[in-house]
C-alpha cells in the first residue's frame, strides 16, 4: 500500500492517514456484548415493555395482601383469640351470666342482679326531691 502522501518526513501520521484510521474505526463491527450484560439489557427492556403483564403473585403473597387489608398479623392474633373464646363458650355452655361474672370477679356475688332492688333507692330519691321542690315553692310564695 502506497502511503507516501499520507506520511510526513518525520515518519509520523499526517491528517489523511489519521482520516483513514478513523474511517476504518467507523466501519469496524463492534465486539459482541458480554453475555451477562446482554442478559441484563434484555431483562431491563422486557421490564420496561409497554403492556408487559405483571407476574401473578404467589399464594403466600396473596394471603399476605389479604391479611394486610384487615390490619396485618396482629389483627390475626386478635381474631384467633376471639374465635377460640367463642368455641370455648360454645362447649362450656355456662348456665347464667352471673356465674360467668362471678368466675372472674368474686365481688359480683354481693351485687343483686334484680332491677327492682336497684330501682327502689332511686324512687326514694325522687320522693325526697319532690319534698324539696315543695319547700322551695312555699318559700317563694
Amino acid at each position: 500500500m502506497t502511503t507516501d502522501r499520507r506520511t510526513d518526513e518525520a515518519g509520523g501520521f499526517d491528517e489523511s492517514l489519521l482520516d483513514a484510521l478513523f474511517a476504518e474505526a467507523r466501519d469496524e463491527v463492534p465486539a459482541p456484548l458480554p453475555q451477562a450484560f446482554e442478559a441484563r439489557l434484555v431483562a431491563a427492556a422486557r421490564a420496561a415493555q409497554p403492556g408487559a403483564a405483571a407476574p401473578r403473585p404467589g399464594w403466600l403473597a396473596r394471603v399476605r395482601a389479604m391479611l394486610a387489608d384487615v390490619g396485618g398479623a396482629p389483627s390475626l392474633a386478635g381474631m384467633g383469640v376471639a374465635g377460640l373464646a367463642g368455641v370455648w363458650i360454645g362447649f362450656a355452655a355456662p348456665g347464667s351470666t352471673s356465674d360467668l361474672v362471678t368466675t372472674f370477679w368474686q365481688g359480683a356475688a354481693s351485687v343483686s342482679p334484680s332491677v327492682s332492688d336497684w330501682a327502689a333507692p332511686a324512687s326514694d330519691e325522687a320522693l325526697a326531691l319532690g319534698d324539696l321542690l315543695t319547700l322551695i315553692g312555699d318559700d317563694t310564695q
Partner: protein, 223 residues
Amino acid sequence: MPARALGHGLGARETKPPATYRNVMPRDTIVRMTAPESESLSDDALLGRYAAGDASAARVLVDRLAPRVLRLATRLLQDRAEAEDVTQEALLRLWQIAPRWEAGGAQPSTWLHRVAVNLATDRLRRRRGVDFDSIDEPDDPAPAAVETMIEDDRRRALDQALASLPERQRVAVVLRHLEGMTNPEIGAAMGIGVEAVESLTARGKRRLAQLLQGRRDELGYDR
C-alpha cells in the same frame, strides 16, 4: 446553555404528538416473530414490534444497537463500568419512548447515540466537578509513547491513542471523526462554542498523530 440544547432537542422530540405505532398496530395485537423474521426488520419496525408487546424484538434490538453504544461510551468515558451504565440508561430511554416513536423519522440508532453522548458528557462534567467547558486544558504536552500496542491492529492502536488524549480533545475527536457529528452538534453536547470544538479537534488530531508517530510500519502502513 448550549450543552442542554441537544438534550432538550431530544426531550422535545419525545413529547411531540406522534403518528405512532399505536395508530398502525393496536396495543392488544401482540405479534410474535420467528428469529429470522425479526432480524430482517428495520430498527424502526422492531421498535414498533417492541411497543406492541413483542418480547423477541427487544433482544434483537439490544444485539443490534447496544454494542456500538457501548463502544462509543467506552471511548468517551474510558471506564467500562460507567460505559455499561450509560448504555443501559440510553436503552432504557429508547424503550420508554418506543410507544411514541415516530415511524420514518430519525433512526433509533442515531437517536440512541445522541442520548448516549449526552449521558456520557454529563458524567464527564460531574467527574470534573465543574462545568465541562470551564477548565482550560494544558497545551499539548509532550506525547506519551503508546505502550503495549498490538501489532497489525490499527483500531486498537487508535483506541489506545484516544485514551491518552486529554478528555475534551478525546470527546471532540470521537464525536467528530468516529460519530460523524457536526461541530455545532458537538458544541451543544459539550457546552462550548463551535470555534472551541474546532480547536479541540485540531489539537486532538495533532496529538494523535504524535502518539502514533513512528508506528506506521507496525500498523501496516508501508512506505
